[in-house]
């Protein structure tokens, strides 16, 4: 009795300080994760929103037009300053302007301000003064806008025609010509047609008045798109935003990876990961079956198992070094000597490429697949195996008809985890075949269709390259955010699939092992 009383008197009222610090670390980790994801989402998706263009009048009478990017305190703490993206890089030498807030007299958003997206030099911002056609005909005001719009649609269809002609007629003919085919006449007509199209595109220019009052002529064929963001309704902006996202996903990069889309990088990432999973699945499953079902379960097997598990923790860059030394220099070098003698000294397989990258990543993710499959195999109750053998099945039949079907979800989990890991790895790829800019996608219409020796682009490396090697990092940042968001989304979806499968698996086998 006394004991019970004393302990009740001493029962602690709270948990003390430690419990709160522990709870706080959960909250802090979640906060960091949320902050990272929302940063990527807001900056990445916000980039495609057509922001309003502000016309800023300064105290000293100068004017500038641009999109406000951010506002920060001045270094000396006496006020704040704003960063405007004013475009017109070929005119002013820069596309950014820092303006102290105290120097701003007035800010307005006139609806006639125009943003031109161009092939080179980024965007141009100003007022439309006139459009001149190839015949010297000059139109001003509203008429100019209508003409410009027509001309843009025309140009888009001309560009389309040119690209189709080049890809489907000219390039295959050139290839055929090099291989000794007799297609010179066809090629000549196609080239003539191409020149016609080019000439049709080159005609005309527009006159732009910048915010500072300069008049400036821009050739029409340099212009990709025309927008009047201040005159747009939110719905229009949403449409433009959707188009921007689509172009980001479907176009190639422009202007040294600081503009345009990431389609080749998406393609390269997906292709490389697919090749990797084709390579890693059979070998991983084979090794797991050997370790769990065939090998004598002795000390050596246990050691090998631990070693394989540990290889999952070996840094990815070490796999990259192995890939470079063995696959690229070793096997690739020998292949070049045997089969591509004519092309030497320029290497064919003796340099980084799609095949070597996939092989390296397959090796890197092999332990993941082996461990996951083995876990699935170990979870299958022995009664199932014994039952199958007792009914007269051979070991092969027992494996293929009973054990492997039950372990399929575990294998899938392993492969998906491997894919998620491979999609995010960049360091080994830098050694074995990723390229800053690969003009040719590794798949095309030429035999053998899949070019394993070519270099490829990768989303992760694209982030690294655009963020650290570009000329104007400031300009590339929004695109890097968008690419990072895309990569994270892809990996999250893959991992969620793996988690779902694992959950499914554990409920299924939970039911099985109960007696």
């Amino acid at each position: 009795m006394r004991l019970a009383k004393r302990s009740r008197a001493r029962l602690p009222r709270g948990e003390g300080a430690g419990a709160w610090l522990a709870a706080g670390s959960v909250a802090l980790s979640l906060l960091a994760l949320l902050a990272l994801l929302s940063l990527l989402a807001i900056r990445g998706l916000g980039h495609f929103w057509p922001a309003s263009i502000a016309l800023v009048a300064l105290d000293d009478g100068r004017q500038l037009a641009g999109e406000q990017v951010r506002e920060v305190p001045l270094p000396d703490g006496t006020g704040r300053e704003r960063l405007y993206r004013i475009g017109n890089r070929d005119l002013d030498g820069t596309r950014w302007a820092w303006v102290p807030v105290s120097a701003i007299a007035a800010v307005s958003h006139p609806p006639e301000l125009m943003v031109l997206e161009r092939h080179r030099w980024g965007e141009a911002i100003g007022r439309l003064v006139a459009v001149e056609s190839e015949t010297g005909e000059r139109l001003e005001g509203q008429a100019a806008r209508a003409v410009l719009e027509n001309r843009m649609t025309e140009l888009a269809s001309l560009r389309q025609a040119r690209d189709t002609l080049r890809d489907e007629v000219v390039l295959p003919r050139v290839q055929a010509l090099q291989e000794g085919g007799d297609v010179e006449r066809e090629l000549a007509t196609a080239n003539a047609r191409l020149r016609e199209l080019q000439a049709a595109m080159q005609a005309g220019h527009l006159t732009l008045e910048t915010a500072s009052g300069e008049r400036w002529q821009v050739p029409l064929d340099q212009i990709l798109r025309v927008r009047y963001p201040n005159a747009m309704s939110p719905l229009d902006k949403l449409v433009v935003w959707g188009e921007g996202v689509w172009r980001f996903l479907s176009e190639g990069p422009r202007a040294a990876n600081t503009a345009g889309g990431v389609w080749p990088a998406i393609f390269g990432t997906v292709l490389m990961v697919m090749l990797m999973s084709i390579l890693v699945t059979p070998f991983g499953v084979l090794a797991a079956i050997y370790l769990n079902e065939v090998a004598h379960q002795g000390r050596l097997t246990r050691l090998v198992r631990i070693a394989v598990r540990n290889l999952a923790g070996v840094p990815s860059i070490v796999y990259g070094v192995f890939g470079l030394g063995v696959f690229v220099y070793g096997i690739g070098g020998s292949l070049d000597e045997w089969f591509f003698d004519a092309a030497l000294p320029s290497p064919t397989f003796g340099t980084g490429g799609l095949l070597w990258a996939s092989l390296t990543l397959a090796l890197l993710t092999l332990p993941v697949v082996i461990v996951a499959t083995e876990e699935g195999l170990a979870r299958i109750p022995d009664q199932q195996r014994e039952g199958a053998l007792a009914l007269g099945a051979t070991r092969l039949e027992m494996l293929t008809r009973v054990v492997l079907p039950m372990a399929t979800p575990a294998m899938l989990t392993g492969v998906i985890l491997a894919v998620a890991r491979a999609a995010g790895e960049v360091a080994p790829l830098m050694l074995v075949g990723v390229a800053k800019l690969a003009p040719q996608v590794p798949v095309d219409a030429d035999f053998p269709f899949l070019h394993l020796e070519r270099k490829f682009m990768h989303l992760g490396y694209h982030i690294f390259d655009a963020a650290f090697h570009g000329g104007d990092v400031q300009a590339a940042m929004p695109l890097v955010y968008a690419t990072a968001l895309l990569l994270v989304l892809v990996i999250l979806v893959l991992n969620l699939t793996a988690i779902f499968l694992r959950h499914h698996l554990s409920t299924r086998h939970g039911a099985l092992s109960r007696r």
Binding site: V26, L286, A287, V294, N310, V314
Partner: protein
Amino acid sequence: MPDSLPPSPVRRRLRQGRDRLATVLVTAGGIGVIAALLAIGVFLAVEVVPLFWSGGDTQTVSPRALWSPLQAEDDLAGYRWDPTATLGTEEPARVSLLPLAWGTLEAAAWALLIAVPLALGAAAHSALFMSPRLRSRLKPTLELMEALPGVVIGFVAGLVLAPWLERHLADGLAMLVLLVPGLLLAGALWSRLPPRLQQALPLGWAGLWLLPWLLLVLAVALWLSPWLEAWAFGGDLRQWLEVRLGLDLAVRNAIIVGMAMGFAVMPSVYSLAEDALSGVPRSLSEGAQALGASRWQTLWRVVLPAASPGVFAAVMIGAGRAVGETMIVLMASGNAALMTWNPLDGLRSLAATIAIELPEAGPDGLHYRLLLLAALLLFLFTFLVNTLAELVRTRLTRRYRRLGGVA
């Protein structure tokens, strides 16, 4: 129905033959795959040997050049890494791996300093206090965090966090200083709440409802920081650091690397430590609580000692990951091969050096072999650390089985 007939001897032989063939194939394939995996270590070791010992004319490097300081009159004395400028020239080779090893370990140490308290705190909370429903959601979430690619974390650290912290050093410091008191204040306030409110905000869900509180604490820290800077550091923290402590600030420095890599390493440490803590047989913690211990006392005196090998293994695996992480260090560290104690200076790690220099170093040169030696060091370190962790973990599972008895 052929299956109902007794099998003919030919067919039985065929089946058995197929079975034997498959077994042989699986064995050969399995051994082959495992051998290919294990060949990594062998390859690295074999390629590194000619660096130190060669039978013929190829150049070698003495082991002393790698680990001892350069004797020189000018400011090049000390440990230097500059192979591209010195290999193959008349100058003495500046190829000491020490600054790189130093950078690697420094980055890993800062990462662990940030990751381990966070991860262990989170693991303790979710193993003992958290409501099971929240836990079943939170654990996969934090495991997803583990899958975030290093290149994304490195980009955010190097191009967003680093410039921000350079401008707002005092804000960052104020946040760090106020974090712990803010959490303790939350606990103190909670225990004074009326019981109805306490039930509405249970400790089991504290991981979620502390989020707005943390935001509030961070906002207060931002608001207080100019005052703190004026009061403690004479108005300018950077100048104060430079004058008083002689520390100059690089934009991308060891602290940034530590924060980013801590963020990256934390989920794997958390996941393993949580497994170890929640794997402790329930009879132990229930017994302790029945004897009147609070849950925190149970954790500290009973669960943690029982699970300590598992927690140790988790930290080791975290260390292995931090040492080998490439992209985060490459993007957030500035890559200057320095050996200083100043956490606000840049660093250069072994892994980042390999990633930068190996594509330019042609095959079979001295530079190439030096970088392979760096890779071998990384391989050996992580392999040993992981083996240690794995051995400890298997022993722990056996111990749990014994402690848990038949149940």
